[in-house]
Symmetry: C2
Subunit: 402 residues, 2 copies
Amino acid sequence: MRNNEEESAGAILCNRQEETQMIYLDNAATTWPKPEETIKAMEECIRNAGANPGRGGHKMSLSAGRIIFETREAIARLFNAGDPARVVFTGNATESLNLALKGILKPGDHVITSSMEHNAVARPLYVLKNRGVEVTEVPCSPQGTLDPGDIARAVKRNTKAVAVVHASNVTGAIIPVEEIGKITRERGIYFIVDAAQTAGLLDIDVEKMNIDILAFTGHKSLYGPQGTGGLYIGSGVLLEPLIQGGTGSKSESLEQPEDLPDKFESGTPNTPGIAGLGAGIRFINSKGQAWIRRHEQGLVARFLDGLEQMKKIEIYGPKDPALQVPVVSINVKGQDSSEIAFILDKVFDIACRSGLHCAPMAHKTMGTLERGTVRFSFSVFNTEAEVDRTLEALERTVAELP
Amino acid sequence: MRNNEEESAGAILCNRQEETQMIYLDNAATTWPKPEETIKAMEECIRNAGANPGRGGHKMSLSAGRIIFETREAIARLFNAGDPARVVFTGNATESLNLALKGILKPGDHVITSSMEHNAVARPLYVLKNRGVEVTEVPCSPQGTLDPGDIARAVKRNTKAVAVVHASNVTGAIIPVEEIGKITRERGIYFIVDAAQTAGLLDIDVEKMNIDILAFTGHKSLYGPQGTGGLYIGSGVLLEPLIQGGTGSKSESLEQPEDLPDKFESGTPNTPGIAGLGAGIRFINSKGQAWIRRHEQGLVARFLDGLEQMKKIEIYGPKDPALQVPVVSINVKGQDSSEIAFILDKVFDIACRSGLHCAPMAHKTMGTLERGTVRFSFSVFNTEAEVDRTLEALERTVAELP
C-alpha cells in the first residue's frame, strides 16, 4: 500500500519536496513541540531530585516527593478536585480508564456509554461485557453530538455508571458532560469522563459537573511528556486497584494500603515525567487556559472556513469552533485518507493522521469505518500562517489528484 | 518520630553539617546520577521525535516508533530474548509483575514463591490468594538464600508457576534462578523472575535460564529514567492483558489485538523515557556489564570489610560480594534503623534508606520486621573514597550514640 501511495504521490506531485519547516498538526495524538519549561523541569528533576520519591527519608527523596506533590496539587486546582490526594498518577489515560471501569463494574452491573468512544473505553468495556457486565451504547449523531436525554432514557435499575468521552478524538465534538452529570447525580450513578482530549483545554470542574472519575492524559493539552496521565477519584467512589505492590507506605502489610493516592500508585512513579507535567500546567496557567482556547478556536475557524470553500472536501463534526476541540476530520472525495496524509507529509512536510484513530465506534457513527478520515489537530503553538499553508497544500493536492 | 530523631541527632552530633558533596547510596531504589547519555537521549527525543509512535504515518511518528523499537531490540539482546516483539514496555517492574501473575494464575492454580519477595510480588499474590489461588511460600535462610530443592519439593499437581525475586532488595542475596529454571522446565511450570535488582547488572539469559517471564525496571541498573520498565514474555506463555485500549493497530476491532507487543501495550507509551532507557543500555554496553559488576563488587567488598571491623554493627545477607548484588543491609545494635539513616543524611549528607524496604516477607525471614534495616546500595558511579567516607561516618555515629 505504501509503495502504491509513494508512486501515486510521486506521479502527481513529481516528487517535489517543498523546502519549509515541518507543520505539526497531530496534536490530538500528542502535543508537539513541548514548552521549554516542560523539558527543563524534566532535566532539572533527573539531575537534582533524581531519587525515589516516598521511598526514603533522605533529602533528595524528599525533593522528588515534593515535585510529585506539587503536580498533584496543580492538577487538583485545575479540576477543582479539592484534596490533592484524590488525584492519582498513571502512565496514560488508557490505564486510568481501565482502572476506573474495571475497578467499578462487576458482573450484573449495567453501564451506559456513547457511540463515539475511543478504544481506551470501548475495548475494556468489550472485555467487561464478556465477563457479564451489561453495556448500552447510546447513539450519537454522525457529527458526534450526544443528546443527554438519551442517557437518561437508557438508565435501568442495575445501572452503575455512565462512561463517556468529553470530546471525540475524531470529530472534536464536545459532549455535554455538565448535563449528563446532573442526570447521574440525580440517579445515584457513577459518572466517568474520558478527558484525554479536553484536560487543560476546556474548563473542567469535577464538583460542578458531578464527575466521579475524571481520566486524563498528561501529554496532550496539559503539555507534559508522554508517559504521564492520571485520574481524579471522587470521595464517594468505591474503587478496586488494578495493580498492587510497593507503595513506600504500610510496608509491614501484605494488604494494599487503603489510603489515597497510595492505594492506586504501586511501584516507582514517573518522577521526571510528573515534573514535566507540572511545568506543562504552569505553562498553561501562565498563558491562560481561556487564551489558549480562543487561540485554537481561531485556528479551527480559519481552517474550517478554508475547507468549506474546497469542492472535493467532506468535513466531519460540528463545524463550529465553539462546539468542538481543535480537531478537524475530513476526507477528499474519492480518495483514501491515508493517501492524502501521505502526500501532505511527503511533499509538504505537514504531519497529520489518517485512518481510524483507535475509535472504530466513532467511525461507525460517522460512516467512515471503511476509509477512516484525515485528521488535523492544533495546539497553542500552531499559527494562522500554518493553517494557510495547510489549506494551500490541500488545495494543490486535491487539484492534482485524479 | 522525626522530631525526636532531630533532637537526638542534634544532641549527639551538635548539629554539625559536614561540608561535602552528597554521597548517594540509595541505588537499589533508583540509580542516581543517571548517565549524561540518558538525559540527552530524552531531551533529543522530546525535541526531535516528539510525536506519538505507531499512531501516525508521518515522519516524526515513525522516528518515535524507531526509538522504541531500538530500545526493544537492545533489551532483547541483553536478555537473549530472541524476537524483540516479546519485550513489552510498562511503567515499572510492579506493573510487569502484576501483569504476569494476574495474567497467568486463575482460581485453583498453585504458585510457589519465596520468603524474600518484594511487595510487588507479595501483594498481588495476596490478592490472588483471596481469589482462590493457592500460594506456597518457600522459606529462605535469614541471609536470604534459597535452596532450589525446596522449590522442587513444593511442586504439586496444580502448580502453574514459580515466581521469585532474582536478588533481594534488602539483603542483596542472589537466588539461583538457573537451577530453579531447570526444575520448572522439567515439570512444565511457568517460571516468573523479578529482575528489578538485577537487570543490567547480572548476566540474564532467558533461554539458558528457562525463564518464561522476566520482569524488569528501567531506572535501576539499566540506568534509564523512572517511569520505565517492562517484561519479556516467552513464546509458550498464555497471558491475558491487564489493560486494553488503543494500540494503533487493528483499530477497526473492539477486541484487543493478539499480536505482541501490542496486546500488552495499550495507550501512548513513555517515548522519552524509553529513549532514555535505550541510552542507559548503550551506556552499560560501552562500560561493559562485567566491568560494572566487578567495580560494584569491589565497593561491596570494601564496605563489608570496613563494617566487619565495627563492633556494634550487625550485617545481614550473604556477606560475600559474589553472592549478592551491591546492596548491604545493616543495623546498629540498640539503635533504630531510621535514626541512623537520619543522622547519615543530616550530618554527613549520605543518602541511604531505612525501614522495611517494601518487603515485609524478607524482613520476617531476616528477623527485622520490627526495626527494619539501614540499607546501602551502590551503582557504577560510586567510588572507593565514598565507601571510606561512609564507613568513617558510621564509625563516628556509632561512637557518639549512647
